[in-house]
Symmetry: C2
Subunit: 191 residues, 2 copies
DNA sequence: GTCTATAGAAAGATAGAC
DNA sequence: GTCTATCTTTCTATAGAC
């Protein structure tokens, strides 16, 4: 046995990435306050002290998680404006079309918005990653106001889905998705 | 000096009430996780140990706060169905019509929904104090689904108002209120 | 580069004096 | 009925050994 049987080689980049992924999953599901550095370190298979070494603090870690979650959010914008409501509602509620990745930044923002330290970061993230591109995509009068209301509706749905416990009756998905789709579409289409 | 100069007479009912009011204000503004028993006790002018004596635990205190906030929420339901959207939107956003009391249970539910222990209580409170009476008030097909979506929109607006920092441009209130009013009214009027 | 050990603060809750 | 004192736990963050 030449090399010791370590489960993880001494690789700073890989360790940093493992921490970041574990943190994203935890923050996404439980929110900033509810997650301890020990839990994240445990998921990543490293010691909690390493997190502060690599990211400075819990806040720094959260900021990096937000920054690394900023690529995928707006794939729902790639599409026809007339079907915007359907697409987003499906991404939010439809269990068949809902992946852990889609709408991830909405979940992340919603579940961590209670903490004063996290909400500062969440605010600027929502603004730069959702409000700004969405406003540009709309490109019409009151686009910014429409963007803010859309964000509010999506966060409210995400928040209430959590509270509901994730077990609304199965056959309600269709009617709920339709209703949400109509509301979102009406915000976009309104003068 | 016959009686000692105590700021508070030894009165269990008054003390209990003072704690309850202080707790409501704190939970309403900061959320369940962010508020410590010592802060509540300080506001109420009593010792933190009394809270556990009177309410058993922090969770018990929060439950009693929710129960004592269940009277005022639905005064917005007293009115014409055609102007429902306007009334609720004004209560949520209009600074002139917005009192700390109105929509208090929405703020309370939104800001405390992140905590697992509080969200259990928040869920049943929303259901019994909002969904059930609102569904009955609607009284039509899909009333329950409309009620859930309405609650989601209101919570989203409350949540995003917090995050925004409470300083959107002054002249945006009017257009934001109109837009929210239209969205709420469309949910109510939808088939 | 990673871990052990621990500092330092703050939380909820309880026992018992007054 | 109220408060002082304290227990216990949990958290972030750091210092230093390996």
């Amino acid at each position: 046995m030449i090399a010791p049987a370590r489960s993880r080689p001494r690789n700073a980049a890989a360790t940093r990435s493992a921490i970041l992924n574990a943190a994203r999953s935890r923050f996404l599901l439980e929110g900033y306050d509810q997650v301890g550095l020990r839990a994240i370190a445990g998921d990543a298979g490293v010691d909690a002290a390493l997190i502060c070494r690599y990211f400075g603090s819990k806040e720094g870690l959260f900021a990096d998680v937000l920054a690394s979650t900023s690529k995928d959010p707006m794939d729902v914008l790639a599409g026809d404006r007339a079907t915007f409501g359907r697409r987003v509602a499906a991404a939010m509620l439809d269990p068949s079309k809902r992946s852990p990745e889609r709408m991830a930044f909405i979940q992340l923002a919603t579940r961590s918005s209670a903490s004063p330290v996290a909400s500062k970061l969440v605010r600027s993230h929502i603004e730069s990653q959702f409000i700004v591109p969405f406003t540009a995509w709309l490109g019409d009068r009151c686009a910014a106001e429409k963007a803010w209301l859309t964000a509010a509706v999506l966060m409210g749905v995400a928040l209430l889905s959590d509270i509901e416990g994730g077990h609304p009756s199965q056959n309600r998905y269709a009617t709920d998705t339709d209703r949400l789709a109509r509301s979102l579409q009406e915000i976009v289409d309104s003068p």
